[in-house]
Point group: C2
Chain length 212, copies 2
């Protein structure tokens, strides 16, 4: 069997989304550590795989890709196991829209402008920019409102079953919820809280996102 390699740091949300997709498909993989805090994503070895210095990069069967969503779609298509995309065009469009919302709006608001300044910056000895967090709160609230609207009455963004969108949202909302601001925003988003509860029971989540 050919090796499946994920290059990245286990704490990265996009590394987590890709590894969750592999776990949901039941695919064994090797995580090749690229330490974010040490800045290894900006070293030559990683830039050769991902010239933008982001993560993850991915290799399977001699095929190299980067960009998390492209990797996740590839994983869903080439490996056996449960389909991670809905069966209808309208269902797939919801999944695709949610994935786009995570990348364009959800990640910047929740991670770049709330989780990182609130948790990561002080952990590394820096000073939180409170104005940055304050400015991001309405966008994080809109993110939760929009994914709540698109989830609707369904159990998962894929409908009755888990989809790539669920795996794209989960690491972002989990980090958002680890901040006091995110916790307050999620208290006002009960359908997303309930969805989080369902997701956190999954063995894929236990494998990839152990409680810290």
């Amino acid at each position: 069997m050919s090796q499946t390699l994920v290059y990245g740091d286990a704490i990265s949300t996009y590394v987590r989304s890709v590894r969750l997709a592999l776990e949901e498909k039941g695919v064994a993989h090797t995580l090749v550590a690229v330490d974010l805090v040490k800045g290894q994503h900006l070293e030559e070895a990683h830039l050769a795989r991902h010239p933008w210095g982001k993560m993850p990069a991915f290799e399977h069967d001699g095929h190299s890709i980067y960009e998390a969503a492209a990797i996740m779609r590839y994983i869903d298509e080439v490996f056996p196991g449960p389909a991670l995309m809905p069966a209808t065009p309208v269902g797939r469009s919801r999944v695709n829209q949610v994935m786009g919302i995570v990348e364009s709006y959800g990640y910047p608001a929740s991670i770049t402008h709330i989780f990182i300044p609130r948790v990561l910056v002080p952990a590394l000895g820096g000073q939180t920019d409170e104005a940055e967090i304050e400015a991001a709160k309405p966008r994080a609230a809109l993110f939760l409102k929009e994914i709540g609207r698109l989830l609707g009455e369904a159990n998962y963004f894929g409908g009755a079953t888990v989809s790539l969108a669920d795996l794209h949202v989960l690491p972002v909302v989990t980090y958002l919820r680890a901040t006091p601001e995110g916790l307050a925003l999620l208290a006002a988003a009960p359908s997303i809280e309930a969805w989080l509860g369902r997701m956190n029971e999954r063995s894929s989540v236990h494998a990839v996102m152990p409680p810290s």
Copy 2:
């Protein structure tokens, strides 16, 4: 037949990509004007369709979506006409990766930090931030290098035929090329220049992107 509506400004790159997809599929559509320069994308009527105040928004058969890539995938799936995604998982992964590269890196470098300050800002009476453009040039160069690498020897990002990636890249590279900086960068990217020449012969491009 149900109406197909695109809400946006004809000059927006993402509106152009969605309309190119409709043209390539041979689908008649109505462009509902949302004037960027007048700020109509931030008015209540548009925010009801797209709460992030971006464009385009899309409606077909009672189904509303936003996020350009999600709309384009939906268009490819529900309408007859030529397939705009390759037939193999590896081929699709290239298209998906290129679409991700446009959104994560190509658009910000080429449009946000070169085209807008060089062309749009002075056209509206403002002052170009030269340092902003200078800082973006290496990233625009890397964008052209990476899409050139992924294009390889093929005629299109889809391989032998046009794909959603071609339609996602084209409006961005066209605007980049309308700046002196972009023109110089493209002179160093002959395979992308040749691809541009092929794309600009298409009737879809004549319909959606008339030379200004």
